[in-house]
């Protein structure tokens, strides 16, 4: 029991997991498209790309901020990756990209912690800047001509598990370890709870903030590698709007935008949930205009579910109190 409680409390509520499982079961029953393994493999692969970004973003959101520049970071990473891949090979390129991610994250972090620019604005400005740099480096699309690299994201290990998903899970575990088992993670959680209290507890807030954006940059770089492999190409205009999809997934996973708590596991599940919704809408032939409406409405319902629950709870508590009171009166 203690073990179970611990999992539950430390790793968050699992409402989104139940919702996903139920949703999948219903899909499998109602739509024959969903009865093959391939369909889920596609969903998991695509969701993993967002989820890997989401792992980094979870750290930012837990600290009470977010990073709007990730889509442009992906674009810059992607453009550089396709440029260097033919020259220096797969593994060195990946390392270069990860370093580039760290660099961009550090720049964001410095702007936010040292120059005291609010994260929203700093990352908004860097969103424009990174995309512009990508455009200056190469304004035309590039197709990757390296079949090994292209297979990386979609290859199915043992014919079942897509590599991207496996990497996402591994990175998710690493992220969870950082968040739960390392001082850095505790500091980030603490800052999200109360910056004042964090300062009083002797946490170096500036350093931790830089680390947060560095982590975001690192995970975004990892995701960029997978995205370029998945698309087999790069383009300075790629993945625009990704930041909002990722933030939606993070918030849907129960990480409060005001910070202080969050769960990487739930972020991954939420990313899968969002992609499942889209795929399901396609499979049911939902009109593409209505798809946007439905997605918006689903997000609203999901975001407000805590409050709806609170309202129901208060009503229940009040009703109970009233009942007790009337019972007392009768007994008198």
């Amino acid at each position: 029991m203690e073990k179970k409680r611990r999992f539950h409390i430390e790793y968050g509520d699992h409402g989104i997991l139940y919702a996903l499982i139920i949703f999948w079961i219903v899909l499998i029953i109602t739509n024959e498209n969903f009865r093959g393994l391939a369909f889920f493999q596609t969903i998991l692969t695509k969701a993993s790309l967002n989820a890997i970004c989401g792992i980094g973003m979870t750290f930012a959101v837990i600290s009470g901020a977010f990073d709007l520049s990730i889509a442009s970071q992906v674009a810059l990473n992607g453009v550089v990756l396709t440029l260097i891949l033919p020259k220096i090979g797969i593994f060195p390129s990946i390392i270069v990209i990860l370093l580039l991610g760290v660099l961009m994250g550090t720049i964001n972090g410095l702007l936010i912690s040292k120059l005291r620019i609010p994260s929203f604005i700093a990352t908004l400005a860097m969103q424009m800047a990174y995309r512009a740099v990508a455009q200056l480096i190469n304004s035309s699309p590039v197709v990757v001509d390296n079949s090994g690299f292209k297979k990386m994201a979609t290859y199915k290990i043992a014919g079942i598990i897509p590599t991207a998903f496996l990497i996402c899970i591994i990175l998710g575990i690493i992220g969870t370890i950082i968040l739960r088992k390392m001082k850095l993670g505790r500091d980030i959680l603490a800052i999200g709870n109360s910056q004042e209290a964090a300062i009083i507890s002797g946490i170096n807030v500036a350093k931790t903030e830089i680390m947060i954006y560095l982590i975001v940059g690192l995970f975004t770089a990892a995701s960029s590698v997978m995205i370029v492999s998945y698309l087999g190409s790069s383009n300075y205009g790629m993945q625009s709007g990704l930041e909002f999809t990722v933030i939606s997934a993070v918030v849907l996973g129960g990480t409060a935008l005001i910070g202080g708590k969050g769960s990487i596991f739930n972020t991954i599940v939420a990313a899968i949930f969002l992609i499942s919704i889209r795929s399901a809408m396609d499979s049911f032939g939902v009109d593409s205009y209505w798809q946007r409406v439905v997605e918006g409405v689903i997000l609203i319902i999901a975001f407000s579910i805590t409050e709806i629950r609170n309202i129901i709870n208060t009503v229940l508590v009040k009703r109970k109190a009233r009942k007790q009171l009337s019972v007392q009166k009768v007994s008198k």
Partner: protein, 322 residues
């Protein structure tokens, strides 16, 4: 912090952004005198009217401690409504009233989600951004050209001259900012918005109807986006479901450049106006100089970072003071 420094920052808060604008103008003027010619400056103001008016509404949202990311979609929606109504043969006035109504309704929806379901403004308006865009497409899925036949009256908003000399967009922009200034400083609504942004729980304790005020704030944002939509539609003579994509970030950029704090409570009406003009001006200048899109993006980013860095320096100095 010395008295002198304090005075400097006080002045900077008021006109710092104007200084940046003037500097940019001088630099552009040196590079190419055409950019600062009176006609071109008028063009810049004309162009700034669209994002400027939306920014005025956005300022209230930010001042109350929130955001409205759905203004872009509201702009598209109003654009389509106007186009459909006009091509249906309805009067221009009717079309505009419908557009304002739509903007207001969108605002009410946003406000209700935020106050009654307690969704944070960022994600609530992010979701409605998607939903409103979808609704726009369901309502009208293709661009509608407004031919000169149906567009004469509407066109007045973009090319008309009040009393024969004053270009309408600039008149609208000025009216919008005068109203904003008055509302912000001299009405109970403006005071309440500042109060909520400054300290929401205290505002509740004081007996302000916070929910009602917040819903009103989002109605203001929605309607101002609708006005921007009318103007934009008049300018490009087209009702387009994708007209407002990315527009919300323009508006937010203008507000933030203007010195309104994202933490709420402190707005800057004049600064917002100058901020809107500054963004337009930088892009316009680079366009005329023939600099590519990438450089325009970089320039806006740099201006944004520069303005906020100075603000950051102020914060650091103030903190050192304590």
């Amino acid at each position: 912090m010395s008295k002198r420094a304090k005075k400097f920052w006080l002045i900077w808060d008021r006109i710092g952004i104007l200084c940046i604008l003037l500097t940019v103008m001088i630099v552009f003027g040196i590079l190419d005198s055409k950019i600062v010619s009176p006609t071109q400056l008028l063009t810049a103001l004309n162009r700034a009217a669209v994002s400027g008016i939306a920014a005025a509404g956005m300022m209230f949202a930010i001042c109350a401690g929130g955001f409205d990311l759905s203004v872009g979609s509201i702009l598209s929606l109003t654009s389509c409504i106007i186009a459909v109504q006009l091509t249906d043969g309805k009067s221009t006035l009717f079309a505009i009233v419908m557009a304002f109504l739509a903007g207001g309704v969108c605002g009410i929806i946003n406000g209700l989600l935020i106050t009654k379901l307690k969704i944070q403004t960022f994600v609530a308006t992010l979701a409605t951004q998607l939903a409103f865009a979808g609704v726009t497409l369901v309502y009208c899925n293709k661009a509608i050209q407004l031919t000169s036949k149906v567009n004469t009256q509407l066109k007045f908003f973009s090319t008309g001259k009040l009393f024969g000399i004053l270009p309408m967009p600039i008149v609208l922009l000025v009216i919008a900012y005068v109203i904003t200034y008055l509302v912000y400083n001299f009405t109970s609504f403006g005071t309440k918005v500042r109060a909520i942004g400054s300290n929401e729980s205290a505002a509740r304790t004081t007996g302000i109807k916070v929910d009602v005020t917040l819903i009103l704030v989002f109605v203001v944002t929605g309607v101002s986006a609708a006005i921007a939509g009318v103007l934009n539609t008049a300018q490009v003579s087209i009702g387009d479901p994708s007209l407002g994509e990315g527009f919300e970030l323009d508006a937010i950029t203008a507000v933030v450049l203007g010195g309104t704090a994202l933490s709420g409570g402190k707005g800057n009406v004049f600064g917002t106006l100058v901020g809107a003009i500054l963004v337009v001006f930088v892009k316009m200048g680079l366009n005329i100089l023939g600099a590519g899109e990438a450089y325009q993006k970089l320039a806006v980013a740099i201006v944004l970072l520069f303005a906020l860095t100075i603000n950051g320096i102020k914060l650091i100095m103030e903190k050192g003071d304590k």
